[in-house]
C-alpha cells in the first residue's frame, strides 16, 4: 500500500523503533526563542550536557521584544532578563542567534522560511505551537514544550508516537477578496478547536495548489488552532521557486540532489488517510471570529450567534461565556461591531504579501477616527522589503503606526497590548481571553478585512469601502 506524504517524511527520520515505545525521530532543525528555552538550557547545565548539534539549531528574539525605541535597552526588566539569558545561553552553547538589531531578527516562523532553512521533507521543532507554519513546505513541523526543547538540544531527537493522518481536501478556487486566512478560519469553525487532535493533516486539492507559499504558511500556521499535531502541504514548483536562491538553500550540485528528493514527497495515489474532510473554496467568504476561541467564527456577512442555538450543552455554555467576555449581544450583525485597534502582523499574517494586501486597501484612505492601526512586520527583512516598496509610507500616510519586527500584540508579552475592554481586529491566530492584553477583546480576521476595518472603524471587507475618487 502507498504512503501519505506525512508517513514518508516520518519514516525517513526514524532513528529507532521498538514495540511498545514511541519512535525516536531525528530532528533536522530546532528553532529557539527566549521564552521557552531558558529552563531547557538550565537543565543541560545542571546535567553537564552539551548541545549535540548546534549546527542544526537557530535562535531568534521575538516574543518579548519591543517594536518601538529599538535603539534603547528593553524597558521591562523581566523581558530584558529573558532576552539576555538567551544571548548568554547561545554564546555558552555555541548556538547561532539573530538578536534584536540584527537584519535577520524576526518571528522565528518567519525567519526560518525566509533564510531558506525550512525545506521539504524536514522535521522541524520549536518551543512554540505555531511551528506548524513550516509544514507549508512539506515538512513535519510541530510545537514542543520546554522539557522537549531540552531533549532536542541534548540529543537532536524526540520520542514521538506515530500520529494518525488526515486529508483536508479543498476543491474549487477562493473567490476574489477571500484569503487563506478566511479558508482556515472557515475550516476551524467547521471542525472545532479539537477536531484535528492526534492527526497530522495534509492540506490538498486545487484551492491549496493555487496558493502562494506565504498563503500556505498562513494555513499551516493555524493547524494547531484546531488541535492538529502538524499540518503540511506537498511541495511543488511554487515551493521550489520560493526556496531557490535563498541564503541557506542547497546550491550547485546539492540543489539538483535535493530537488530530486523533494519531488518524491507526495502522497501516493493508493495511500489511505485515517480521515478526510472535503471543503469547497468557491463558497467561502471573508470570515471573522466572534468568540474566545478560533473555532467561534462566522462569515463577515453573518451575525453574532445566539448561544441557545448550539445543540451541545458545553458549546452553549462556552458561547454564553464568550459573548459575556466579548461584550456582544446575540443577533448583532458582525459588520456593526466597532473596533478600537487593528493589528496587522504575527507569524500568521506578518509576511510581505500580507503587508502588501493591507497597504493596497488603505492606500489613499485614512484610518477611522478613534481607531488605531498597528502594522508590525514579521521580520526585519519583511520590514526592509516593505520600506523598499514604499508600503511604510502608505501606512503612515493612512495614519497607521509602522513598527519594528516581533510577535508584538499577537500575545502582548511586549508593551503592545490592548487595554481592558478594548476591541481589536487582528490578523493573528488566537482570540483567547486576555491574549492581547488583560480584558482585551479579539476578532481574528484576514489582512484585507483588517485594513478595511481600520478605515471604517467597524468590521468590514474592502468591498464595503466606497471607491476612491
Amino acid at each position: 500500500m502507498g504512503r501519505t506524504l506525512a508517513e514518508k517524511v516520518w519514516d525517513e527520520h526514524v532513528v529507532r523503533s521498538a514495540e511498545g515505545e514511541p519512535d525516536l525521530l531525528f530532528i533536522d532543525l530546532h528553532l529557539i526563542h527566549e521564552v521557552t528555552s531558558p529552563q531547557a538550557f538550565e537543565g543541560l547545565r545542571l546535567a553537564g550536557r552539551r548541545v549535540r548539534r548546534p549546527d542544526l539549531t537557530l535562535a531568534t528574539e521575538d516574543h518579548n521584544v519591543p517594536t518601538l525605541d529599538l535603539d534603547k535597552p528593553i524597558a521591562d526588566p523581566v523581558s530584558r532578563t529573558q532576552v539576555e539569558t538567551l544571548r548568554r545561553n547561545c554564546e555558552e552553547f555555541g548556538v547561532r542567534l539573530h538578536p534584536l538589531g540584527d537584519v535577520e531578527q524576526g518571528i522565528v516562523h518567519v525567519v526560518g522560511p525566509q533564510l531558506g532553512l525550512t525545506q521539504p521533507g524536514m522535521t522541524i521543532v520549536c518551543g512554540d505551537s505555531h511551528t506548524s507554519t513550516h509544514g507549508a513546505f512539506g515538512a513535519i513541523a510541530f510545537g514542543i514544550g520546554t522539557s522537549e526543547v531540552e531533549h532536542v538540544l541534548a540529543t537532536q531527537t524526540l520520542p514521538q508516537s506515530r500520529p494518525r493522518t488526515m486529508a483536508v481536501t479543498v476543491n474549487g478556487s477562493l473567490p476574489d477578496g477571500v484569503t487563506a486566512k478566511d479558508l482556515v478560519l472557515t475550516l476551524i469553525a467547521h471542525t472545532g478547536t479539537g477536531g484535528g487532535q492526534g492527526y497530522v493533516v495534509e492540506y490538498r486539492g486545487p484551492a491549496i495548489e493555487e496558493l502562494s507559499m506565504e498563503a500556505r504558511m498562513t494555513i499551516c500556521n493555524m493547524s494547531i488552532e484546531w488541535g492538529a499535531k502538524a499540518g503540511l502541504i506537498a511541495p511543488d514548483q511554487t515551493t521550489f521557486d520560493y526556496i531557490e536562491g535563498r541564503p541557506e538553500a542547497p546550491k550547485g550540485e546539492h540543489w539538483g540532489e535535493a530537488l530530486a528528493h523533494w519531488q518524491t514527497l507526495v502522497t501516493d495515489e493508493d495511500a489511505v488517510f485515517d480521515k478526510e474532510i472535503v471543503l469547497d473554496a468557491s463558497t467561502m467568504t471573508p470570515f471573522v471570529t466572534w468568540g474566545t476561541n478560533p473555532g467561534q467564527g462566522v462569515p463577515l456577512g453573518g451575525e453574532v450567534p445566539d448561544p441557545a442555538r448550539f445543540d451541545d450543552d458545553g458549546d452553549q455554555l462556552a458561547a454564553e461565556k464568550a459573548l459575556e467576555y466579548m461584550g456582544l449581544e446575540a443577533g448583532t450583525p458582525m459588520r456593526d461591531i466597532k473596533v478600537d485597534t487593528v493589528f496587522v502582523g504575527s507569524c500568521t499574517n506578518g509576511r510581505i504579501e500580507d503587508l502588501r494586501a493591507a497597504a493596497a486597501v488603505v492606500k489613499g484612505r485614512h484610518v477611522a477616527p478613534d481607531t488605531r492601526l498597528l502594522v508590525v512586520p514579521g521580520s526585519v527583512r519583511v520590514r526592509l522589503q516593505a520600506e523598499d516598496e514604499g508600503l511604510d509610507v502608505v501606512f503612515k500616510e493612512a495614519g497607521a503606526e509602522w513598527r519594528g519586527a516581533g510577535c508584538s500584540m499577537c500575545l502582548g508579552m511586549n508593551p503592545d497590548q490592548l487595554e481592558p475592554g478594548e476591541r481589536s481586529a487582528s490578523t493573528s491566530n488566537r482570540n483567547f481571553e486576555g491574549r492581547q492584553g488583560k480584558g482585551g477583546r479579539t476578532h481574528l480576521v484576514s489582512p484585507l478585512v483588517a485594513a478595511a476595518t481600520a478605515v471604517t472603524g467597524t468590521l468590514a471587507s474592502p468591498a464595503d469601502l466606497p471607491p476612491l475618487a
Binding site: H151, G314, E433
Partner: protein
C-alpha cells in the same frame, strides 16, 4: 522526576471547556528564567473573580483538577503544567486534552487522565455535593475512584511506564546514542545547517 503510582486528594470542579494555556497561565507570567514559582500565574485572570471556583474555600487544598473537554489547547508553554504543579495539582482529569499539553504533562510529572465526559460530569456532581470527597487516582491500575464512582482512565502506555518509574527521557534516549550517530552518518549532505 518523582515516581507516581497512586494519588489521593480532593478535587476542583472546573466547569469550562476549551481551557487554553493562555487561561492556565497568561503570557505575562512566562518571563521567568527559572523553573519554579509559577503558581501565582495559575488562572490569573479568572482568579480575580472571587466567585471563581479556585477561590471558593471549600476547595482549598484540592490536588485533582476536573475540567471540561479540550483542556490545554493553544500555546505550547510548559509553564501551564508547571503552574498547575506549583499550585499543588498532581492530576488533571478531562475528556479531551490538547496534544502538546498532554506531552508536557508527561514530561513534568503531572498525570493527564482522560475519561469520558460522562465520568467528568459525575465527578463534578460528586465534588460539588461533597468537596471533601477523596479522589483516588491509581496509575498502576489506570482507575479513578471517588465515593461510589469508579472509572477507568486513559493514558498512553509509554507515558504511564515513565511516570511509574520516574524516568528521565533524555537519559533513556542517550542510552541509544549509537543509533543516533548511525542515523547522522547517513544524512544527505545537502540538508541545511545553521553554522
Amino acid at each position: 522526576m518523582e515516581k507516581f503510582t497512586q494519588h489521593t486528594g480532593t478535587g476542583l470542579p472546573l466547569r469550562r471547556s476549551n481551557v487554553d494555556t493562555d487561561q492556565i497561565i497568561p503570557a505575562v507570567y512566562l518571563k521567568r528564567v527559572t523553573r519554579t514559582g509559577f503558581e501565582d500565574g495559575l488562572f490569573a485572570a479568572w482568579r480575580k473573580d472571587p466567585q471563581f471556583v479556585i477561590n471558593q474555600p471549600q476547595y482549598d487544598g484540592a490536588t485533582v483538577l476536573i475540567a471540561g473537554p479540550d483542556f490545554g489547547t493553544g500555546s505550547s508553554r510548559e509553564h501551564a503544567v508547571w503552574a498547575l504543579l506549583d499550585y499543588g495539582f498532581r492530576v488533571v482529569i478531562s475528556s479531551r486534552f490538547a496534544d502538546i499539553f498532554r506531552g508536557n504533562s508527561g514530561k513534568a510529572g503531572l498525570v493527564a487522565a482522560q475519561v469520558t465526559q460522562d465520568v467528568v460530569e459525575q465527578l463534578w456532581k460528586q465534588i460539588e455535593h461533597d468537596p471533601t470527597t477523596q479522589i483516588v487516582v491509581d496509575l498502576e491500575a489506570r482507575t479513578i475512584q471517588a465515593d461510589a464512582i469508579t472509572a477507568p482512565f486513559q493514558i498512553d502506555d509509554y507515558t504511564r511506564w515513565r511516570l511509574l518509574e520516574g524516568l528521565d527521557d533524555i537519559g533513556i534516549t542517550l542510552s541509544h546514542e549509537d543509533d543516533i550517530a548511525t542515523y547522522e552518518a547517513g544524512r544527505p549532505s545537502w540538508k541545511p545547517a545553521t553554522l
